[in-house]
Symmetry: C2
DNA sequence: AGCGCGGTTTGATCAAAGTCAAGGCGGGAA
DNA sequence: TTCCCGCCTTGACTTTGATCAAACCGCGCT
């Protein structure tokens, strides 16, 4: 609803950047050395400010990208302004939708985001040449489908406090993968308003449930963004996992 | 929660069935004649009664299938019994999850269902041999992901009456594809209880909203299952599409 | 016909989350 | 420092949908 924002900072890093290469390996794997070099030649590293739109009304999907750092939110909006975040993407997720451009989703940087992007044509040619790449893509898509369906259960059947606990648990475990108990501390990548749009709640309800979790000793709120979870298991219980 | 049900009727149709072949073309496409014959040789047609579990606790995912007719519901359940339908699959969708078995979803026949199933090994070998098959799979997965995300908006941000209207609109347009206005009549593939689990509501609320839509002249209810929509556009408005 | 049963509708009441309205807190600019 | 602005929290009240309870309806059975 704001004025179109397009201030993507292209930091003009030389085309062949080693950091990107590492990410390409991580996400795409199975590319030949030749392909990797050619991908790097055509890739550009970009830093995107929090809040800037990556894909949507103002920004065409003429490129694909790997997320190097930061969090991207995928949002669906209704005509009257109600909106729902339908997915969060973290590094090293692949960004941009193959073989389909619209689907009514916009992608915005939730935090400051670094991506490594390359032109649509490059990646699509590589997909044709390398079945393994398509296989990787299928795997990421299946992962996203699983996540979407998990979240449908949260949206449809959990109470407000379970929802907020579920969100915190999601972030906590994403910050420290392969951790499912003990103590974690992390920075929330979303504002209260984003959290509300992710959970299908209002900001007031999110706030109230956060203070309730704090008063019950399940979490500590250092400042609005920084949260500490002394016992992940207890949080998981609150989320009804 | 009921006793395990396993009464799948294998109707012992000879392995090579023409009806199935048609479906294989529809879903998988791009198979060579040889592959198609071999697929048909190993495929079995099955009729499954409404309510029977296809994939889940009691039934292993040792096979894949094409849906020939009927509706399959994908359900996620919480420990305390709350459940959410996370997807509906119609003919000619592909059923069964490649490269992953669990993910906590069960698939049940919502109506009487006819499927054409073949062993896991067969389809996985073919996928390795035929990149185009994997491409088709990716396309169906992307379609399911889109649907899931559409539904997340419905679950998170719509009111009860918008939800019910959205559901009816979904079924109406699925029964008659490429129709988006005028009059339609159809049979609901789900009970009120299933509809409630799909919409994240209770059966009472679903019922009340249905009668409201009826009283407002948006729908006619012939009997519990049969519904007529005189004007699809009006239904779409009620759904806030 | 009368009975019973599952699924559905309807009504009365209640609780959870939304809305409206203040106020607080923190960080940046003057 | 002080002010300001955005974001967050808190409180009072309202609304939506859940819960509890009863009746209804179509249908197969005896």
């Amino acid at each position: 609803m704001d004025a179109p924002r397009k201030d993507i900072h292209n930091s003009d890093i030389p085309a062949l950047c080693r950091a990107c290469e590492a990410r390409h390996r991580g996400v795409c794997g199975a590319l030949s050395a030749d392909q990797l070099v050619s991908l790097n030649k055509q890739s550009t590293r970009k830093r995107i400010d929090s809040g800037v739109e990556l894909i949507g009304e103002t920004q065409q999907t003429d490129s694909y990208a790997n997320i190097i750092s930061g969090v991207v939110k995928l949002t669906k909006m209704m005509a009257d302004g109600r909106q729902q975040i339908v997915g969060l993407q973290f590094a090293p997720d692949f960004l941009g939708r193959p073989f389909r451009s619209d689907s009514g989703i916009t992608a915005d940087a939730a935090t400051e985001v670094n991506i490594c992007s390359f032109p649509r044509t490059t990646i699509e040619r590589m997909i044709r040449d390398t079945p393994m790449l398509e296989h990787k893509l299928l795997e990421q898509t299946l992962k996203e489908l699983d996540e979407a369906r998990d979240w449908m259960l949260t949206l449809g059947r959990k109470t407000a406090s379970e929802k907020v606990a579920s969100f915190l648990y999601l972030i906590a475990t994403h910050v420290n993968p392969e951790m499912d108990e003990g103590s974690v501390s992390f920075e929330l990548p979303l504002t209260r308003s984003d959290i509300a749009d992710f959970l299908g709640l209002t900001i007031e309800t999110v706030s109230r449930q956060m203070t309730k979790l704090r008063k019950d000793g399940v979490i500590l709120i250092r400042n609005n963004r920084k949260v500490e979870v002394p016992d992940l298991t207890r949080l998981a219980e609150r989320a009804s996992h």
